[in-house]
């Protein structure tokens, strides 16, 4: 695969790559976090189970003491305390009867971790002092948490790299058919345009070489028609090449004599204009230079001039005015409706069916203008005139 093709593919591939990566990344994050959470939860549960036996022992002691207190409540009202654990008792309406430290009752779980304390809720057979829910709780030393975090960090790191490599392989597989199809199309377009170039150039060059003075009027007319046809094909060919090759046309910026180039392009289009009986004139209002690639500037002008011819009236006129910082192409053509001017530069848009065309021209103008920071403006009066200016 050539490097050139690679870069041509870049745009569409990048987009697919980005979308796929975003989706894949999102899925990976969801899966990894899901697993991490499950692991964290299981570790937490394990720790709780380990402490459960101890808490059950405490609970048993507390219940024994509560029982004694219940029986002797008329003599003793000191709530049993132990430095090893905190406790709280709630009645069947979940109302707090007494707590050694602020406690929030949860009845959905027997064993849970809350506020750094491991809680065990037990429901005794008899409700001593009315206590239906007896909670004993002790501080969680959080050793497990530190270890779990360490393990999780390693897991996330490894899993992410694993997913990354799987993703890479998947991406290659996923993109392959698309790459193949685009390569095929790309090669086809390039081969076709290349094969067209030689014959079209030959026709145009040979017509130029014919000594028009030695021909009789009838033959000259025919030759001119061939010239117009060949130049039209040549223009379309160049537009296609420009669009197909995108930005990979080698650029050589230089100081251009704007009037000189305009004159040259006008000469080239003379026969096309003549065929439609349109007069084509270039005027220099001020000397003007522009630092730009000649081929691209010509392409831009070609499109403006060919549009001006294409959408002109019979016996109309075209004036190309060169000013210090702008070039204006003015025609006496069909004009463009106001609401359509903004859509002009969309690819394949054409605003009337008088002439044929691919609708690529103004899109190319826009892309060249953007590259060189030129300001292209179109003003028009429908059925009367159109003025396109490019300023810098």
């Amino acid at each position: 695969m050539s490097k050139e093709k690679d870069t041509y593919l870049a745009q569409s591939e990048k987009q697919t790559l980005f979308r796929f990566s975003a989706l894949y990344f999102l899925l990976s994050v969801v899966i990894i976090s899901g697993f991490s959470y499950m692991y964290y939860d299981s570790q937490k549960e394990l720790t709780l189970q380990e402490k459960k036996a101890t808490l059950q022992e405490y609970s048993k002691t507390l219940l024994q003491e509560l029982k004694e207190l219940h029986v002797n409540f008329d003599k003793n009202r000191i709530y049993p305390r132990d430095e090893k654990f905190d406790s709280a008792i709630f009645d069947s309406d979940k109302k707090l009867i007494y707590a050694t430290s602020p406690t929030h009752l949860r009845v959905d779980k027997i064993l849970y971790l809350e506020g750094g304390m491991i809680h065990l809720v037990s429901i005794p057979e008899s409700y001593y002092l009315g206590a239906k829910y007896v909670i004993v709780k002790m501080k969680d030393d959080a050793v497990w948490l530190g270890e779990t975090k360490k393990e999780l960090a390693i897991f996330v790191f490894l899993a992410f790299f694993f997913m990354l490599s799987v993703g890479y392989v998947l991406l290659r597989l996923f993109l392959k058919p698309m790459r193949d199809a685009i390569h095929l199309l790309d090669r086809f377009i390039k081969d076709t345009t290349h094969e067209l170039n030689t014959p079209v150039s030959t026709i145009v060059a040979n017509i130029e070489m014919i000594d028009k003075n030695s021909l009789d009027a009838n033959l000259l007319k025919k030759i001119n028609r061939i010239d117009v046809g060949a130049k039209t094909i040549s223009n379309i060919y160049q537009d296609l090449t420009y669009v197909a090759l995108g930005n990979k046309i080698v650029t050589r910026d230089e100081n251009l004599d704007v009037y000189g180039v305009a004159k040259e392009r006008a000469d080239y289009f003379k026969s096309l204009a003549n065929a439609k009986k349109v007069s084509l004139r270039v005027e220099s209002l001020n000397p003007s230079t522009l630092y730009m690639d000649k081929a691209k500037f010509s392409k831009l002008l070609d499109n403006l001039i060919s549009n001006a011819i294409k959408y002109n009236k019979i016996n109309g006129s075209i004036v190309i005015s060169v000013n210090a910082k702008e070039i204006i192409v003015r025609d006496t053509g069909v004009g463009i409706a106001l609401e359509n001017i903004s859509k002009l530069q969309e690819r394949y848009s054409r605003f009337n069916n008088v002439s044929g065309g691919f609708g690529l021209g103004l899109n190319i103008v826009a892309s060249i203008a953007k590259e060189y920071d030129l300001k292209v403006e179109t003003t028009s009066k429908e059925k009367e005139w159109t003025k396109v200016s490019a300023s810098w």
């Binding site: 219940h70 409540f73 009202r77 709530y79 009645d91 309406d93 007494y98 008899s126 409700y127």
Partner: protein
């Protein structure tokens, strides 16, 4: 109505109001404590029996209410030996409000809330 009669009417109204006010207090005192004092088992023992079985204020009061309205050996919280010795009490003759009022007093007197240290 002369001045003397007015004073008389006021006294009667005042006395009636005071009598009414003290009626509820005496419902617990007269109808509960009065009889239970004659028994060898003090009144608080029943309370802690109820607490042991019914836990919350709402449950304890409603269980006592039901029992007093309709006493039976099955619904009693006391031990069989106690029942066989003293028997099941008679149905209460108190009105529902009086009974509730008496139970509220009973609860306030023996409740655990706020008494633990």
């Amino acid at each position: 109505m002369d001045e003397g009669e007015r004073v008389m009417v006021r006294k009667i109204i005042l006395t009636t109001l005071l009598a009414c006010a003290s009626l509820n207090a005496s419902a617990y005192k007269n109808d509960c404590v009065g009889c239970h004092n004659k028994l060898p088992v003090s009144l608080d023992k029943y309370f802690y029996r109820y607490l042991l079985k019914y836990s919350s204020e709402r449950n304890v009061k409603s269980a006592m209410f039901e029992y007093l309205k309709n006493p039976s050996q099955e619904s009693s919280v006391m031990a069989e030996a106690f029942i066989s010795r003293f028997g099941v009490k008679e149905k209460t003759k108190l009105a529902d409000e009086e009974l509730s009022e008496a139970l509220d007093r009973y609860w306030e007197k023996y409740k655990v809330f706020g008494k633990l240290q």
